[in-house]
């Protein structure tokens, strides 16, 4: 079976840290950072990037559209 690997890019400065992507991620790839961005929000970032499968769930629920998803078969 072909393995699917994904990767996300978060626009950190636009992220408002609402945590909706964190709870929808099926592989627990995303977490909120301990640091804050320019607005003072704990932004989302791929804490376990190797687990990402590129399912686009996080980007689909993101109210601010800050997540871009890439996926490839390896």
């Amino acid at each position: 079976m072909a393995k699917v690997k994904g990767s996300i890019v978060v626009d950190i400065e636009k992220c408002k840290g609402c945590e909706l992507c964190v709870v929808t991620c099926p592989t627990k790839t995303i977490a909120l950072a301990a640091e804050v961005n320019g607005k003072g929000y704990h932004y989302a970032y791929p804490a376990n990037p190797e687990l990402c499968i590129g399912c686009t769930n996080c980007a689909t629920v993101c109210p601010d559209g800050v997540i871009t998803v890439y996926r490839m078969k390896i």
């Binding site: 690997k5 636009k14 408002k16 909706l20 686009t56 689909t60 629920v61 109210p63 998803v69 996926r71």
Partner: protein, 270 residues
């Protein structure tokens, strides 16, 4: 750093599976963290982009949190007086029938101030799409009680919860307009989970198709959260919405066009 290199290989334009629509401007949304407005803006932009309607769309925004929509979407958007978006959209559609016309209204706007405009536009069967965001509260002005506030729900003007004996029952606008002969497609959706977002997007896409065919008013209610107004975290508010809002405002289609048309639509999708 084997993983980092591996990830760099993945981040290439040919592997792109999701990016926000190019119709969304670089300006950050002014909404609170976790608000359903942002998600709804995004899916509307995505549908319009996919249907190639960017040059032929006119949106009408009323007063409320969504009033600044013209800043966030790279579309032609007209601002209307509070609650009067369906009336303005009626005029736009009648003068420019080739355009795709939609209104985007909150519950305070559509269900309180603009009730008559909404009902009459739907009754006349104006060929427009009405997107109705229902979060059961006046979000922009500080969480006051709206006609759609649930029984017992606390708001800044009903601190002990809504008492239906004194303040009346929550208004089900969507059920109301579904009864009118002018509407062709009436549905209630939400945008709190990936599956719900995809369904809501499909509903908007259907409405675009129905408007192209001139079948009448399409009315899409989106049950949304208001984390700031409800005084909850975004995740908590979505859970509260699932448990309480969905019990009263049941998601699903309330009215779909006659079977033959619906079947044709389904076949096209497949």
């Amino acid at each position: 750093m084997k993983t980092a290199e591996g990830l760099k290989d993945i981040i290439k334009p040919e592997n792109l599976v999701y990016r926000k629509s190019s119709l969304i401007t670089d300006k950050p949304f002014s909404y609170c963290p976790g608000c359903g407005h942002g998600t709804t803006h995004r899916i509307i932009a995505e549908v319009i982009e996919e249907e190639n309607l960017a040059e032929n769309t006119i949106g009408v925004c009323p007063v409320g949190c969504s009033v600044l929509m013209y800043d966030f979407l790279d579309l032609d958007i007209q601002q209307a007086a509070h609650g009067r978006a369906p009336a303005v959209a009626t005029a736009i559609k009648r003068l420019m029938p080739e355009k795709f016309v939609f209104t985007y209204q909150g519950d305070g706007d559509l269900a309180a101030i603009g009730t008559s405009e909404t009902i009459h536009a739907c009754n006349r069967g104006e060929n427009i799409l009405i997107v109705f965001i229902n979060n059961g509260i006046y979000g922009m002005t500080g969480g006051q009680m709206a006609p759609t506030t649930l029984e017992g729900m606390k708001s800044s003007t009903s601190p002990y919860g809504r008492d239906v004996k004194m303040m009346g029952n929550p208004l089900k606008m969507t059920e109301l307009v579904a009864m009118l002969p002018g509407t062709c497609y009436v549905t209630r959706q939400s945008v709190h989970t990936p599956a719900a977002v995809r369904k809501a997007k499909k509903a908007i896409k259907k409405a675009v198709g129905y408007q192209k065919k001139g079948m009448g008013t399409c009315f899409i209610e989106i049950v949304s959260n208001c984390p700031s107004g409800w005084k909850m975290t975004p995740v908590e508010s979505n859970k509260w919405m699932e448990e309480n809002m969905f019990a009263y405002y049941k998601p699903g289609d309330l009215k779909v066009p006659a079977e033959s048309d619906a079947d044709a639509e389904n076949k096209n999708e497949q």
